[in-house]
Amino acid sequence: MEFVSPEGLRLDGRRPTEMRQLRAEIGVVSKADGSAMFEMGNTKVIAAVYGPREVQNRGQQTNNDHALVRCEYSMANFSTGDRVRKPKGDRRSIEISLVIRQTMEACIMTHLMPRSQIDIFVQVLQADGGTRSACINAATLALSDAGIPMCDLVTSCSAGYLNSTPLLDLNYIEDSAGGADVTVGILPTLDKVTLLQMDAKLSTNIFEDVMQLATEGCKAIANYIREVNPFILIAVYIWPSLKTF
């Protein structure tokens, strides 16, 4: 199938290196300590952060010096084109919960909040490809809304390879075309990769291009997130001044 026309346009009118429209809003769940809605095209997720608060279940606390970060990913019944009623906690959700938790844990300064717990709940309202990335971006915004100290933002974006062209930010049709799909998460200020997942096969030099493209996407998202919430508490900005003491 043709995913990029000879005129260089994708099925939805984007060019290969263009991202879908981003939309974000913070404070969407008023009861939560921090929350955000993040949209990438038709993919729409909500993240809510509760904490830092007292550890609810002592058994889960393994390290007293650091905050316990927990995450749960769930998909609404109506989020996919085919309505499926999935039981909670299926394999895919558990895996994505884990991925998000690890990714967020890497940027939260957990050592500043010992004996406490931070819960991140992400809820997919609509899935149209790139849900993992959208969840991570929403979680970053929600954490920043909750004022939880982070060493950097984490932003995520995917890129794929179809019709011999690297494509940024695949939507569902492109994602299910069977080509490779590389999901990257970065710490944009520290310039580090914290998440990297790929399915299918790619030769090394093509992989390089695709990953580069996804990284560019992450950076663009980071800029957007800073626009949405300019008051992000990021320790990176504090550190250098600390050193002078």
């Binding site: 969407v28 769940v29 008023s30 009861k31 939560a32 929350s35 038709n42 909500i46 993240a47 809510a48 509760y50 609810q56 749960e72 769930s74 609404a76 019944n77 109506f78 989020s79 996919t80 084109g81 309505r83 009623r85 909670k88 906690g89 819960d119 709940f121 992400v122 809820q123 309202l125 609509q126 149209d128």
Partner: protein, 287 residues
């Protein structure tokens, strides 16, 4: 999770007794209600309803199915509610299941009528494509995103709004298929079947706190309730369903009293909801 001190509890109860609730409302006043429709484009109809800090989404998906043998001339409707942990950390894992089941049951009772389908707020016979063979099955999914009390009323309103937002493609049955099997259907993209939602009731929940009962309780107020009665009432003032929750008993005369209050409140609510829905629809068209 509402942790209140004794003083706070007294404050809430006292406020209700004096008809001046902690947020300044009177006993029979709703919080401002906001309706947004078409929030889930992939669904056939959807709506998001915000009632104070309570935030719910309802979606309607239509699928072709086979009518049940008992009611060959009616389509089927099912309601499922999910409570997202974003609303309350205790909903994490299977934590929200009990509440979800309770809400689903109450909504089914209030909106779908009896088992025979009689008395339902939705005209089930309009869902029939070929009698006895093909019908539309409506799956109504509700999702609680943020909870600050009175979920049932909010969900009921969201479902009503979602249904009025629903368009189902019209289908044609291919001619020539023999009688004994499932007929082939074709869709036409040009026409949509729209629902008449004027018959869909609203739900008014009256929460009894102390001697008095209030509408649209927040979760703090709910934490002080002794019992609650949810009454679904349609435009004609008919009671379409009723659910009582909470442990303590209520005097039958109080229940009748509650019904008349609900009847009165429902008229305002329907009016408010209708205007919100039409405003939301207009808004969606524009964007």
């Amino acid at each position: 999770m509402v942790g209140l001190s004794e003083g706070e509890k007294e404050f809430i109860k006292g406020g209700i007794a004096q008809d001046l609730r902690s947020d300044g409302r009177k006993r029979y006043t709703y919080r401002p209600i906001y309706v947004e429709t078409g929030v889930i484009p992939q669904a056939n109809g959807s709506a998001r309803v915000r009632l104070g800090a309570t935030d719910v989404i309802a979606s309607v998906k239509a699928e072709l199915g086979k009518p049940s043998a008992l009611q060959p001339d009616k389509g089927k409707v099912a309601i499922f509610i999910d409570c997202s942990p974003t609303a309350e950390p205790t909903f994490e894992g299977r934590g929200g299941e009990e509440l979800s089941a309770e809400l689903s049951g109450a909504l089914q009772r209030c909106l779908l009528g009896s088992k025979s389908g009689a008395g339902a707020g939705i005209d089930l016979s309009s869902l029939i494509v070929v009698e006895g063979k093909v019908c539309w099955d409506l799956y109504i999914d509700g999702l609680v995103i943020s909870s600050d009390g009175n979920l049932l009323d909010a969900l009921g309103a969201a479902i009503k709004a979602a249904l009025s937002n629903t368009g189902i493609p019209s289908v044609h049955v291919a001619a020539g298929a023999s009688n004994d099997e499932q007929p082939e259907v074709d869709i036409s993209d040009e026409e949509f079947l729209q629902f008449d939602t004027s018959g869909v009731p609203v739900i008014v929940t009256l929460t009894k706190v102390g001697k008095h009962y209030i509408v649209d309780a927040t979760s703090e107020e709910e934490s002080q309730m002794s019992s609650a009665v949810s009454i679904s009432i349609n435009r004609q003032g008919h009671i379409c369903g009723m659910t009582k929750r909470g442990g303590s008993g209520i005097d039958p005369s109080v229940i009748l009293d509650m019904i008349s209050v609900a009847n009165f409140v429902s008229r305002q609510l329907i009016e408010k909801l209708d205007s919100e829905i039409s405003a939301a629809e207009a808004n969606e068209e524009e964007s």
